[in-house]
Point group: C2
Chain length 252, copies 2
């Protein structure tokens, strides 16, 4: 929700600044931040069909462009974090990760491990990456969250979205959709198929994609909290471990 | 010379744009671009003594800041390159390299190798990095040039500076300094000690630092051309292999 998905290259800088402030206030140690592409990464990735892999020369400038736009969005977030004195350092996924058929295969994690050990706050983001099978593809922020949480045995995952949590159906399409405050792994798996594909621009699948990516982390017993990041204070409270309205997902 | 070293965060965007155009026109394959920190990286790196390594907590925000400023400068360069349809992709040194006492020790080069194989133009830059011995330090663009040239067995190295080439003394201080059009490795080594430390803001040593870093590459028989990048067309001609005024350095 740090970009306006109805536009292109449209950052919500006020929201970014507020969230950076909340992250500063919460002052959580061992925190890894991950953000998505929104209206910076998705339109360009879609236009050049980057997710489907390399097929023709003309896609190359699209790969360059998508990566660059993501670094611009990341730069806006970094601006705010550093202004709020968060010792944040961006880690570029395409510079240290290679996927195989869209899944992270190779990951040079030494810089990230050092960042955490020294008390920095690493910031990663959805990016275009090289793929041993497809040539290149899109690596979503959602896959990064799950991959990093499992690799570093995270205590918990907090996901900020622009809805109050997970619904029984897409609340933007169905008025009768009900919010779920608590989800067990089995229910999560059943729900996935029901949520269908997203409406807004999102090459990596919106809430459907998010939930699908979360399954492996929940299976490893990492609890997930999905909160409405557009509500001031919600991300801060969630980071501080306070109970806040949203959806909690646990293995059992 | 893509920044104004007398200022802070002062990019010469006209020069950046002109150079991006020249790089596009030259249309060289297997090209790796590297730029330095200028007035983006150096003031902050110096203020927080990042090069000397981690000594106290208060340096951490300086590490974050220096890295961020470098990504901002890189972003301006990437903007221009992509606008000129160069399929350029930035590779973040701190995301894939670790140094030991200031020298590159670990380097996950798979993304860079893939970029070159697929015909992209990787762009790297002087950055702050983690160091197994110092905690963190500065990795200069000059060290990157030499490291990458040796690792990928480069055909040649072209360095753009804001002077006509290498002089017998610092031409900004001594009016009698003579430009050297041709330098052999042995002469280069002798000259190093004479050039002394730089005058403008440059934590990694200006021309002195450049020459010191180039020695290992020249020893591996990689020829170096140093040209005045402020002169329109010089970088393009050098990239195209044309003879252009400057300093040529060869092993023998």
């Amino acid at each position: 929700m740090i970009t306006d998905k109805s536009g292109e290259l449209a950052a919500k800088t006020h929201e970014i600044d507020r969230l950076a402030g909340e992250i500063h206030e919460a002052n959580v140690s061992n925190l890894i931040l991950v953000h998505g592409g929104g209206s910076f990464g998705h339109p360009s990735a879609e236009r050049y069909a980057i997710k489907d892999g390399y097929k023709e020369e003309s896609q190359k400038i699209g790969f360059s462009e998508t990566h660059h736009f993501m670094t611009v969005l990341n730069g806006l977030f970094m601006d705010s974090l550093i202004m709020h004195r968060v010792p944040a350092v961006s880690v570029t996924p395409s510079s240290c990760m290679i996927t195989e058929k869209g899944r992270v295969k190779q990951f040079e994690d030494a810089p990230l491990v050092t960042l955490l050990r020294m008390g920095f706050t690493p910031v990663l983001y959805g990016d275009v990456v090289f793929d041993t099978n497809l040539g290149f593809t899109v690596l979503s922020g959602d896959q990064l969250i799950s991959t990093l949480a499992i690799r570093f045995n995270a205590e918990r995952i907090i996901i900020g979205v622009d809805e109050d949590g997970v619904y029984t159906a897409d609340p933007k399409l169905e008025k009768t959709a009900k919010m779920l405050e608590y989800l067990k792994l089995e229910e999560l798996k059943k729900l996935q198929s029901k949520l269908g594909k997203p409406t807004a621009c999102d090459v990596t699948g919106g809430m459907f994609g998010k939930l699908a990516e979360l399954v492996p982390a929940v299976e490893k017993k990492i609890p997930v909290t999905i909160v409405n990041a557009t509500k001031p204070g919600f991300v801060r409270m969630a980071l501080e471990g306070e109970t806040v309205k949203g959806t909690k997902i646990e293995k059992e």
